[in-house]
């Protein structure tokens, strides 16, 4: 059964130095407030996993929380580069960043295998690409029926999955809708999980295109309105596209980024919108 706690408490209990952490949300429902709380609690040596690192991991990487990044597309969507990510890879600042790189299809299948309790997944992919030679978690596999050569990717089972959702009920059942990405798989593949929600309600009425995560699959639920900002929660908030554009200038420069970190993260308390 999920426990309903504050965001600070959820992060403090669930995320430990050295953990593998998956914060998921495909453009929609990105758990920014939780990411900021991880920075605020100064977690270190994390292996960060996420299909699209986006601003949230640019911030965690720049803040020095990460030792390694597992990902499939690391850009600022519609804007350009993730400068903190690039600075870490290109110049080792603030610390060298090990990378493990996949395609979206590969990452999605790795989560699905983790959720399914399998050690690997099979897909048609990667053949002929440079990713095969750079990434240990990609191997060839032969179909035992046809002899065909396919690709296997190893499963992921993060220590903690963190997602943002529209609602939970008081028992801790979680409901999200709209573009739900790979969040179900992330939570089901993880040992522990945190879900921040826009709203806690008495009961969850069924919704079109909704994913429900029963309370017994979730560790902690925290009530964090606007906890996806500058991403959004369909039917609650809108995407702050200007923020994504403005981030480019903030992240481009180490000092500007440092000031942002002080002013927007370290000097404010958990759950405040950044």
């Amino acid at each position: 059964m999920a426990q309903i706690v504050s965001l600070a408490e959820a992060v403090s209990r669930a995320v430990r130095d050295g953990d593998t952490v998956a914060m998921e949300g495909f453009t929609h429902l990105i758990p920014f407030a939780a990411g900021h709380e991880v920075i605020r609690q100064r977690r270190r040596e994390l292996t960060l996993m996420r299909m699209t690192p986006d601003l949230i991991y640019d911030q965690l990487i720049g803040a020095g929380c990460a030792r390694k990044l597992i990902f499939s597309w690391g850009g600022n969507p519609g804007v350009g580069s993730l400068h903190r990510f690039r600075d870490a890879v290109e110049h080792g600042w603030p610390a060298p960043l090990e990378i493990e790189e996949h395609s979206h299809a590969g990452m999605a299948n790795r989560y699905a295998a983790g959720a399914a309790g399998l050690p690997f997944a099979v897909l048609r992919g990667y053949n002929g690409t440079g990713l095969v030679t750079q990434t240990e978690s990609i191997k060839q596999i032969t179909c035992p029926f046809t002899g065909e050569q396919l690709t296997a990717v190893s499963a992921v089972n993060p220590d903690v999955a963190i997602i943002h959702a529209q609602r939970a009920d008081r028992a801790g059942n979680v409901q999200l809708w709209g573009i739900t990405g790979v969040q179900k798989e992330a939570v089901l593949s993880a040992r522990r999980s945190i879900v921040t929600v826009e709203e806690i309600v008495a009961s969850l009425d069924p919704r079109p295109n909704a994913v429900v995560l029963p309370s017994w699959t979730v560790s902690y639920v925290a009530h964090v309105p606007d906890g996806a900002h500058p991403s959004y929660a369909l039917d609650y908030t809108v995407r702050d596209n200007d923020y994504y554009v403005a981030w480019d200038a903030i992240a481009r420069d180490r000092e500007t980024f440092g000031r942002w970190l002080d002013e927007q993260i370290y000097e404010v308390s958990a759950g405040s919108p950044a």
Binding site: G74, L82, S103, H104, A108, N109, G125, L131, V182, R239
Partner: protein, 252 residues
């Protein structure tokens, strides 16, 4: 000078490549603009599939991100990301996929991963995203990219997405089931693969583009068709429709 931009010309050329009723795997930027232009003009039944899991999205304005709410709200079906790749892209259900490129070689292989050495890149690019499997599994691929020597290179620093590999027959050898890139649409015109060698050849030019300009802006010794097709400029109707889409405030 012309009364339209290079981006507009490229977008219109890409839109023209789409026919009604096709299914189309769309990324953000020019591909999304092109697909939505086609849908709002000559191809009203074009099916737009975004990798965020929205099938049949019908946005009235161009989305800024691949996961904008308007895509889910207007879609025929919204599904998970594992499902979009496994049940929809992988089996070859999608007619056309669009790709961009930071580097592209003469066989249409694409790099969006690194400039320089993988371990010590001079520029770390965003990486693969959905591109390798779009390149592998869509029935055909259209690449949209501006043509210059930095991008059009003899050999890509990293193969993120496979075009024709080392040439004719390589896709089959690699087990890639889609037909590969059929067009590379640039700001100078359109390159198509030579039927024998699979090397990309400049077979169509935008009005006023000289062969010399093509050679100047291509990093390999590019073949140019003896009598390249001259592409008609964007019509007033095409430009108006495109500008309506792009002038709207970004979809939220």
């Amino acid at each position: 000078m012309s009364d339209y931009t290079a981006d507009e010309m490229m977008t219109v050329a890409a839109a023209r490549a789409l026919t009604d009723g096709m299914t189309c795997f769309v990324g953000i930027g020019l591909p999304s603009a092109a697909a939505n232009l086609a849908r709002t003009t000559h191809a009203p039944n074009l099916v737009l599939v975004y990798e965020s899991g929205t099938i049949g999205a019908k946005p009235g304005r161009l989305p800024l991100s691949i996961g904008d709410g308007i895509l889910a709200q207007t879609a025929d079906a919204v599904i998970s990301v594992p499902e979009i790749f496994n049940y929809w892209l992988q089996p070859g259900r999608i007619d056309v996929g669009f790709l961009g490129a930071a580097q592209i070689d003469k066989y249409g292989n694409i790099n969006t991963t690194v400039v320089g050495d993988y371990g010590h890149p001079s520029v770390r690019l965003p990486g693969a995203g959905g591109a390798p499997e779009i390149a592998a599994s869509c029935k055909e691929v259209i690449v949209i990219v501006r043509q210059n020597r930095r991008t059009f290179v003899e050999k890509v620093d990293f193969v993120t997405s496979v075009g024709y590999g080392a040439g004719h027959g390589d896709r089959e050898r690699l087990g890639l089931r889609g037909r590969g890139p059929r067009q590379v649409i640039t700001d100078l015109g359109v390159l198509t693969p030579d039927p024998r060698t699979c090397e990309f050849t400049m077979t169509a030019l935008f009005p006023g583009v000289a062969a010399g300009t093509v050679r100047e802006r291509t990093g390999w010794d590019v073949a140019i068709a003896a009598a390249p097709q001259v592409l008609p400029p964007p019509s007033a109707a095409e430009l108006a429709a495109l500008r309506t889409l792009t002038a709207s405030p970004p979809a939220r």
